[in-house]
């Protein structure tokens, strides 16, 4: 594009015309992945996020160790420790890989066009401790001030995705699998983007602290400033005031990955146990029961409320003998249906993939019916079973939905309005989920929770155990 045309386009922008075409819009379809620098590869339940940076300037040319140092800082921070697969997003394992290359020392100038296509262009000026130097966070070339565009994503499906993944993956990344779906992320708001040259660029001075390097890299991942975070969260705009912690916050991965519509399926089992204890004239038996169901995210909805089909609530055991009596019981199984919301708020959720909050719907109540009784309470059987047949009394769903339970409330912290600080103890906030449903600590296989430990149901001890027996990434 010649100089006159460039200036004319800028002029049109200045008077508020034509900006939507000269400025990259949020429509991902209009962008080429080349030059975007941040890519997502998906293979089954594995997500590989690759961020490519090309560094240039005296700061890196005079310090050949800098790229290796930054790469380690970035990968350690964003993988929540140094080892791979530390980060979980629902049922997915997530790995962040920083690819850093250095421009030749004869690079003619700062413009992105002098860099390698497909890499974020980072000027690394040589600075010394004590110099004033801004960093990457607020750069942007063609975006109007105050623009609030969201992250733009582009995805590739089928053969194109495979071809794209095979072309873009480096040899050391191919061990993660031959991606079947890929995407690019482009976040113009904090990054700045040279839409004309299909590249993002900014400045990261050579003296940036470790935490500031990790913070600026977060923008390259597509994460915005976190104005609600604690000051020492990695994406807090105040990061850099002090050399803070390198704790990434789970919502940052939510921000990166949620728009990709990654969906999961969970095989879940609940086990209910109630001890027998006589209360007054009632004689509740010891009961074991269970419920198995499959919970599946609905990928057709923007908000992924996961739902299950109806499933049986099955009696495994009803104690036949109690005190000096022998009972004849007939179980009537129930039917249940669940829907779930997924929380991904707390720092612990990085390791567990989030938490599932399940709201049950009772389609058919399970009951235990006394058919007969023998022993000391009856000579040849009772004619009137009212004393020992409280028809709803033993209803297991009493426990499930929490009616009449003197239960120990399940403790969980929600922090949508008040995020938990990595450096501070997580704030205890008791949510009485037993009024509405149950919560599983984690969204990956083997995650479990025990609800109502030591709960008291008319004197009987009641426990409710729920666990994920298997998790599966759903094909997109």
């Amino acid at each position: 594009m010649n100089l006159f045309l460039k200036r004319f386009l800028r002029f049109l922008c200045a008077i508020g015309v034509f900006c939507s075409t000269t400025t990259p819009s949020a429509s991902a379809a209009s962008y080429s992945p080349e030059g975007m620098g941040t890519l997502v590869f998906l293979n089954g339940d594995f997500v590989l996020i690759v961020v490519r940076m090309e560094l240039w300037g005296e700061g890196v040319w005079n310090d050949p160790t800098l790229p290796y140092r930054w790469e380690k800082i970035i990968e350690d921070a964003w993988n929540d420790g140094s080892s791979a697969n530390n980060v979980k997003y629902k049922c997915y394992k997530v790995h962040v890989d920083a690819e850093i290359k250095v421009s030749a020392t004869d690079r003619p100038g700062p413009d992105a066009e002098y860099g390698t296509p497909g890499y974020h262009q980072i000027w690394v000026p040589e600075t010394k401790t004590g110099d004033m130097a801004n960093a990457y966070s607020a750069y942007g070339l063609y975006l109007p001030e105050g623009d609030i565009q969201e992250i733009a994503y582009g995805t590739y499906e089928g053969d194109l995705a495979e071809h794209y993944a095979s072309q873009m993956m480096e040899s050391d990344q191919s061990s993660f699998g031959s991606g079947t779906t890929s995407a690019f992320i482009w976040n113009p708001l904090p990054l700045g983007a040279d839409g004309e040259k299909k590249a993002t660029w900014g400045t990261m001075p050579s003296t940036l602290s470790d935490s500031a390097v990790a913070h600026e890299f977060g923008h390259l991942l597509g994460v915005s400033q976190d104005g609600n975070a604690c000051d020492d969260n990695i994406m807090s705009p105040m990061h850099g005031v002090n050399d803070g912690r390198l704790q990434p916050y789970p919502t940052y991965f939510y921000q990166i990955l949620h728009p990709l519509n990654l969906a999961c399926q969970w095989n879940i089992r609940t086990d209910v146990h109630m001890d027998a204890t006589a209360v007054g004239t009632y004689f509740p038996p010891k009961i074991d029961a269970h419920n198995e169901f499959i919970l599946q995210e609905n990928s057709e909805k923007i908000e992924f409320a996961a739902v299950s089909k109806s499933s049986d609530f099955v009696y495994d055991f009803i104690e036949p003998q109690f005190t000096c009596n022998t009972f004849v019981w007939e179980p009537h199984n129930g039917r249940m249906k669940y829907r779930a919301d997924i929380f991904y708020n707390l720092k612990d959720d990085l390791k567990t993939g989030g938490r599932l909050y399940l709201s049950p719907t009772v389609l058919q109540e399970p009951t235990e019916e006394i058919k007969n009784i023998f022993g000391c309470g009856a000579q040849g059987g009772l004619k009137d079973l009212s004393m020992v047949n409280p028809p709803i009394h033993h209803n297991l769903l009493y426990g499930l939905i929490g009616k009449n339970l003197q239960a120990t409330p399940y403790t969980y912290q929600t922090d949508e309005d008040d995020p938990s600080c990595p450096s501070a103890p997580e704030k205890p906030l008791t949510e009485q989920y037993y009024h509405q449903g149950v919560l599983i600590d984690g969204a990956v296989k083997e995650s479990r929770a025990e609800h109502f430990p030591n709960a008291d149901l008319f004197g009987a001890q009641f426990t409710y155990d729920i666990r994920i027996e298997n998790d599966t990434a759903l094909p997109r």
Partner: protein
């Protein structure tokens, strides 16, 4: 109507002019409008740095500007591009009434061997302020401690300790140009 279109066209071309071609008045506009939260603003200031030593003369008049933000940008640019001798034009700013300007000048002069910067940095160790023109911001106290520790290799923490160190060594402190630190 025709006149307004002409003015719009001219203003469009004026906005499109890059800092590399900027006149003194354009540079002043860049400095006056500087906002570390704004995209183009940070880029324009770094474009001044990219000019290298050629930016020093351009910045010189702004050392005495009445606006502390403009004086701070002069420190930003001169500190980054000037050699130690030339950077001494920032010495008057070690007495600047504005904490951010004074401390920032002391920081960049300290890394060029200007001994007079050290007591200014020690004075900032108990500050509760921040260098708000910088993105990301830094607290003045943390910045001062970082610079002092780096260039004296002293593991001191409190202002009192640093003052005692300075009083005991100020006559002997010398810049070691080869090693980039103050020996005493």
């Amino acid at each position: 109507m025709g006149l307004s279109i002409l003015l719009l066209v001219l203003s469009g071309f004026s906005c499109a002019r890059g800092p590399e071609n900027a006149s003194l008045s354009d540079t002043k506009t860049v400095m006056k409008l500087y906002d570390p939260k704004k995209n183009q603003s940070m880029q324009d200031v770094d474009a001044l740095v990219m000019k290298g030593k050629g930016a020093v003369e351009e910045m010189k008049p702004f050392i005495n500007d009445k606006d502390p933000k403009v004086r701070w940008i002069a420190v930003y640019v001169i500190g980054r591009v000037a050699d130690p001798q030339t950077a001494k034009m920032l010495l008057p700013l070690l007495q600047d009434e504005d904490d951010v300007v004074r401390i920032s000048a002391a920081g960049t002069l300290a890394n060029k061997g200007v001994t007079e910067a050290l007591p200014v940095l020690i004075g900032g160790l108990d500050s509760s302020g921040s260098i708000e023109y910088l993105s990301p911001q830094r607290t003045i106290a943390e910045f001062c401690l970082d610079v002092l520790s780096t260039y004296t290799k002293q593991p001191l923490e409190t202002k009192q300790d640093w003052q005692a160190w300075w009083e005991g060594n100020k006559e002997r402190v010398q810049w070691d140009e080869a090693e980039d630190y103050y020996r005493f």
